[in-house]
Subunit: 450 residues, 2 copies
């Protein structure tokens, strides 16, 4: 359904914002690799002259310094976006995805990894936000309502065709349709299961950990997560406290945030095995496919999970091919946007590995819930052993914040990708000129001069 | 040998420049993925107040658009560099390398890949340039003269220790010393073997290809390289022409620049096997370790080569562990600088795989020759089946350009890393305000207004 050029609206602007929240003040988000993150977004708005008042919103998530580099990367993509027909773009986001990933000069800066690829993801996600809004549907339903053939057309099979062909993808999506109506009722009634990382930040005291773990239990969560990897004696003490707080039935995942070498990962995980960890997350470098496979073979029955820093579908393909994963953790804003996450969900379905998304940060919960709900309705067909991470940070800055009830994400009702921040939040936390930072930096300058 | 703080000089500035050369005009550098590159450098100068008149020069190589993102990434590292003691920094570049790679907030933008990691490489390389200049030695000799223990201290073993321990690295370097004096005489007499890609750009006519291939032969090269991968019939015709031009004894490498899926790579390479290609380079995504292993198993005796886009030592480790490579192609400006390339050279030595660097672009020949010469003197001990790529582009912009004689790189004599560009070149080709681009952009604006 391509639009008629000239009569339809065009993308008129890609506005970008460097938004940073001062989360390092409270050690929220502290882990073995990230002692003091300032959760940030390289944020963008697609404006159009379609006259329907709709905009596309998207962002890359970063943790502070370098957010300006991420903004520069999004700006570098602007020329590919401005002037496009809104109708054509929303009918085929893959066309833009191809142009962005395929820009032969920008490709040198990746390819398909790091700053440049996250920028592609931010822009592509903003297009999906706009497309879903124009369709009047939340993204999860927009995707789940789409024809399997069209969904397959949205996937870039380059470099993954040896593991997943378009025909196989089509078959998975067709098979995934059976029972969809019943699952949608279930989704609307109960939501999608969540787990919470809020108790487990490394900077928290044991008392705070215990209090928050009990609170999680009372709130209906059946899985929590603890950060580990800085000091083994501390980890043993904290795991013991957490297990004592929640009892034997609640799953406790542990997360090393890439802190270890392969051999360390194996030894450390075994040392914590007595506390029955459900999975060990990011035991080593996200680039080390063979390392994850070796760790998984050694630490079973503890499961191996990774993905929040996995750069693209090509690395996920190999993690699956080499049997390196028990749990695949997509991230909504790390790879090249919805199109590439479709590829990754299809790969996971092909290999039969459950997807438990990474979330938290700024707006990652808001985004990724849509992908898991689509996965449930149209692909995996199950929420067994599937949970979306939940961290109770910064949701107040979003126009459509996630809603959690009895340990489940409620299905969003508003059209779009839930990506939109309040204009007041953007204005206040824009770095370095927004109200909050201008005051902070003036204070720092004063202290220096005194 | 740490310096005495206060008495020694400090790094006073990291100046950055966005330098772009209009190479797309002549289709120099055209290949199956990069039809029209404008070879560019995100260039930096470290200034000090040491009073010795020495500066450190370094750069990331890009191919045009996005060079401003690369410059922004280098700027993001400035705070880690300015104010450091020059003596301490030059005595232990690894200390800076650790701080740059380990910046917990910037790390989120990689980790250790893409724009942010290339920026680390540019800064670290500039430090090595300065260190070698202060020692009054070309970098190859500065490295080859260093004690094995100190060289091992310059390597980050994180995430590679399962394949290479510090003790094993030390052993390799100690063993590599035997016969070094004789090899140095040989190096100074004959140089280091080169091969040339100048005949083989995809945009060239068959006649130009044939003429340049014969010229390469006359110049003493014993290996040339052809770009392939856009059209099989064209590739067959071009390979036939090249083989006819150089005869059976000269090695012809072919280079697909990541154009293919795994199955395509196998079929296409086999279709070109009758022309006896020496290696197939970048047959598929640089991220596809298992894919390269599958291709290598299928296309032998044609060798598999990759590396110019391999993001870091962790991916190289796995390419070696999985038997995916016959030829390892380091790049001086892709990974985290000399420190990480030391790790990669050590890994290659451990696995017995010859290193044949990627070069060309802007200044990559100037840099990487030093690493191969160090490898020969101190580690591999041989130039058998080892060649450095040579492309005859843009050397005139460098203060110490490479010198090629009878198909060999002459060993550089000037102190440093040969990284320094002429100030006039920087001024003329700075984008968008340098003399060349200002005139171009004014012309374009004029055309648009007419």
């Amino acid at each position: 359904m391509p639009g008629t050029p000239g009569r339809t609206g065009r993308i008129t602007a890609v506005e970008t914002y460097d938004v940073r929240f001062p989360t390092s003040r409270d050690l929220d988000g502290s882990d073995a690799m990230n002692p003091d993150p300032d959760y940030s977004a390289a944020y963008l708005v697609l404006r159009t002259d379609a006259g329907d008042g709709l905009e596309g919103h998207g962002f890359s998530f970063t943790i502070g310094r370098g957010n300006e580099v991420q903004v520069a990367a999004i700006n570098a993509l602007r020329a590919h976006v401005v002037g496009r027909s809104v109708t054509e773009l929303c009918a085929d986001p893959a066309s833009l995805n191809r142009d962005l990933v395929g820009d032969s000069q920008l490709r040198w800066l990746g390819p398909e990894k790091g700053v440049m690829h996250m920028a592609v993801g931010a822009v592509v996600n903003a297009v999906w936000d706009l497309a879903a809004k124009r369709a009047g549907k939340p993204l999860w339903r927009f995707l789940a309502d789409a024809e399997p053939e069209w969904l397959v057309s949205q996937v870039d099979f380059r470099y993954i065709a040896d593991a997943l062909s378009p025909d196989q993808a089509l078959e998975l999506l067709r098979r995934g349709r059976a029972g969809r109506a019943e699952r949608e009722r279930e989704l609307l009634r109960r939501g999608y299961p969540a787990y919470t990382t809020s108790p487990g930040w490394l900077g928290y005291s044991d008392r705070k950990l215990t209090r928050l773990a009990r609170a999680a239990l009372a709130d209906g969560f059946t899985q929590i997560k603890l950060k580990v990897g800085a000091d083994l004696a501390d980890d043993i003490r904290r795991c013991r406290a957490a297990r004592a707080a929640v009892g034997p039935a609640v799953r406790i995942a542990i997360d090393a945030n890439q802190r270890w070498n392969v051999t360390e990962a194996i030894a450390w995980t075994k040392a914590l095995a007595e506390f029955d960890p459900y999975w060990i997350e990011e035991p080593t470098s996200p680039d080390d496919i063979l390392g994850h496979a070796a760790i998984r073979a050694a630490v079973a029955p503890v499961r191996v999970a990774t993905g929040e820093h996995v750069q693209n579908r090509i690395v996920f393909k190999q993690l699956l091919q080499s049997g390196a994963l028990d749990v695949l953790q997509i991230d909504a804003a790390r790879v090249g946007g919805v199109n590439e996450n479709l590829a990754i969900l299809l790969l996971a379905a092909k290999f039969g590995v459950p997807v438990c998304p990474h979330a938290g940060g700024v707006g990652l919960c808001e985004l990724v819930q849509h992908l898991s709900m689509f996965d449930y309705l149209a692909l995996s067909g199950s929420t067994d052993d599937r949970v979306i991470e939940f961290v109770d940070h910064l949701h107040e800055h979003f126009v459509e914040p996630v809603r959690i009830h009895r340990g489940h994400y409620r299905a969003p009702r508003a059209p779009g990708f839930s990506a939109q921040m309040h204009p007041e939040s953007i204005a206040r936390y824009t770095y370095p000129d927004g109200g909050f930072w201008a005051a902070e930096l003036a204070l720092t300058a004063q202290e220096v001069s005194v």
